[in-house]
Symmetry: C2
Subunit: 84 residues, 2 copies
Amino acid sequence: AGDPEAGEGKIAACAACHGTDGMGTSPIYPNLAGQSAAYLESAMKAYRDGERGGGMSALMVPQAQGLSDEDIADMSAYYASLEP
Amino acid sequence: AGDPEAGEGKIAACAACHGTDGMGTSPIYPNLAGQSAAYLESAMKAYRDGERGGGMSALMVPQAQGLSDEDIADMSAYYASLEP
């Protein structure tokens, strides 16, 4: 399982759109606060593997491709730990 | 914009995984409550167009392919209207 404290140090890029509080900064960006880590990891890996297209995937695929499994687990644990 | 009351009558299939309250019934299913309608419509159309793969797309693509733009707008308005 990911480490939410480590994740907090890895979400600078994410926060531009999803906030440090996990709330989308514009209606087109989903809220991440309170989603389960399992779902967030699944979504990030689908972007990283180039499976998840459409929507904001032109932005998300390159962001995800720089991340390790551990990075994704930590970042997911961080956003999962927040209250929406 | 979608009609949340009409949407409430269209989410029987969605609710199996996302709840009538918009909260995922298992950790692998994302919460939809309180997401913006703009985001929900974007995600559903990416599934419908076969662009969004990975994750639970094997389930979501066929679900979305039966929906009109109006259906998607109504269902999105319904889930956007709920508090997480």
